[in-house]
């Protein structure tokens, strides 16, 4: 079966397609979330070292993974939009940013909650935490730059450049922070040697990762739909939708 992918690269037809896809991803997200939380809270055993507090990793680890992954995806779509002048890809980049920033914030927040019982302090200048904080700044920078520009075409392109510059810099920043951390190591506890995990813990975490994926896709598609409506508000097909009362 041949699918004409290019058909869906136009905002108008993508709008309808996304409308159909969102419920599927929402349902999948709910199922995985319930399953993941059940495994996390009831099936997974209590950790002999960390007690019950460790259970926050079922949210913390997926959030941290998503935060990094989404930045790369965002930069990828932004770069595609810049190189080929495809509007939809730029809209995707814009739509991904808030979700990515949300996951970064969540990872930082849960990290602090985990740190208090583990290390006795809300915040340590651990390499991973610090890098995550810097990632948060990068997301905020991207979003504020786009928000400050009125012309959507310029916003797309400017955002793309800063996203690409950011993605080139992330490894450099990560390694310099890691290196800085080893130089100043002393007070903080190393979290590098995590003890081997029970397999149910791993399963629970992976299911939660899937749930975050489904959630992100659903939210991003929804946001892309809103952006499409906003930017195409003067085009014929949106006016028709409004007449039908579908918007």
């Amino acid at each position: 079966m041949a699918i004409n992918w290019f058909k869906y690269s136009s905002p108008a037809s993508f709008y309808t397609l996304a409308g159909k896809m969102i419920p599927i991803f929402v349902i999948a997200a709910v199922i995985f979330l319930v399953a993941g939380l059940y495994i996390g809270f009831f099936v997974a055993p209590t950790d002999f070292q960390q007690g019950e507090a460790y259970r926050i990793i079922f949210i913390h680890v997926p959030a941290a993974w998503m935060s990094m992954f989404l930045y790369v995806v965002m930069a990828f779509w932004a770069a595609i939009g810049l190189a080929f002048n495809t509007r939809l890809s730029s809209m995707f980049a814009t739509a991904i940013a808030p979700t990515g920033a949300m996951f970064t914030f969540l990872a930082l927040w849960t990290g602090a909650l985990w740190g208090k019982p583990m290390w006795g302090t809300w915040w340590v200048w651990d390499a991973r935490l610090t890098s995550e904080l810097i990632l948060f700044f990068l997301y905020i920078g991207f979003m504020s730059l786009q928000a400050a520009i009125d012309d959507p075409r310029r916003a797309d392109k400017a955002g793309a450049i800063i996203a690409i510059v950011g993605v080139v810099n992330i490894p450099i920043i990560y390694f310099s922070v890691q290196w800085w951390n080893t130089l100043h190591q002393g007070a903080s506890v190393s979290i590098n040697q995590a003890p081997a995990m029970a397999s149910t813990m791993l399963t629970g975490m992976l299911v939660m990762v899937l749930a975050s994926w489904m959630y992100s896709i659903a939210v991003i598609l929804k946001r892309v739909r809103v952006i499409i409506l906003e930017r195409e508000s003067h085009s014929a097909w949106v006016t028709e939708l409004q007449k039908k009362g579908a918007v």
């Binding site: 400017a158 310099s176 130089l183």
Partner: protein, 219 residues
């Protein structure tokens, strides 16, 4: 062309010396505020000195980024630069170089004096100056991207700090690290080599990215 741009920007800086002096005094004031806030305890100040000087240099260099393109943008010179037959990247490189001469070099020259305020040993003063000499051009180059992207935007000055400061972090870490390593009696040449590597990498990529940003901002 490269030379013309540098000559022009330096000439403009000479005609408006207050701009240069403001950046320099900002640097001096920020560095001088720290002892007032944490107390005159010399041992504490000595350990803080590299970080304080570097953070102040970062802020001072960033403060003057707004001027890199905005005056040329307002009076239409930037349009002419974009329509020049010469490569825009070379031109941006020239402007970043002029920015460094005007706002970076004075900081480098001032740093040893401020280091003395913090009772840094002579060796450490040399390392501090050397690290700043290698690191401040990177600040101007990366800053050019931010300045180009925020051209003509409302609140561009604050925005540029949000965009550029996270990217300055590696320079801050290795710049201050070099001085700390020297004071701790460890070899510091690896730090300087890394800053040198950043300088080379940003010499290649930053003018190109800033030129692309200028085209986007002027469209």
């Amino acid at each position: 062309m490269f030379i013309w741009i540098i000559k022009r920007d330096l000439l403009l800086a000479v005609r408006r010396q207050s701009d240069v002096l403001i950046t320099l005094f900002f640097f001096i004031i920020v560095v001088s505020l720290f002892p007032l806030s944490v107390g005159p305890e010399m041992n504490l100040l000595r350990t803080m000195a590299p970080g304080v000087v570097w953070v102040a240099a970062l802020l001072a260099s960033m403060l003057s980024l707004g001027r890199m393109f905005s005056n040329d943008y307002l009076d239409g010179t930037l349009e002419q630069m974009l329509l020049s037959p010469q490569s825009l990247s070379i031109l941006v490189l020239g402007k970043a170089f002029a920015h460094w001469i005007v706002s970076g070099v004075p900081l480098v020259l001032m740093a040893p004096v401020l280091g003395i305020q913090y009772d840094l040993p002579f060796d450490a003063l040399l390392v501090l100056t050397g690290a700043l000499l290698l690191g401040t051009p990177v600040l101007s180059l990366i800053g050019a991207i931010g300045a180009a992207l925020t051209l003509g935007l409302r609140g561009g000055g604050v925005l540029v700090s949000l965009l550029v400061l996270p990217l300055y972090i590696p320079i801050l870490i290795f710049g201050a690290g070099a001085v700390e390593a020297n004071m701790a009696g460890i070899a510091f040449d690896a730090h300087l080599s890394l800053i040198g590597a950043f300088l080379l990498a940003s010499l290649v990529f930053a003018p190109w990215a800033a030129a692309a940003s200028l085209r986007v901002s002027l469209e």
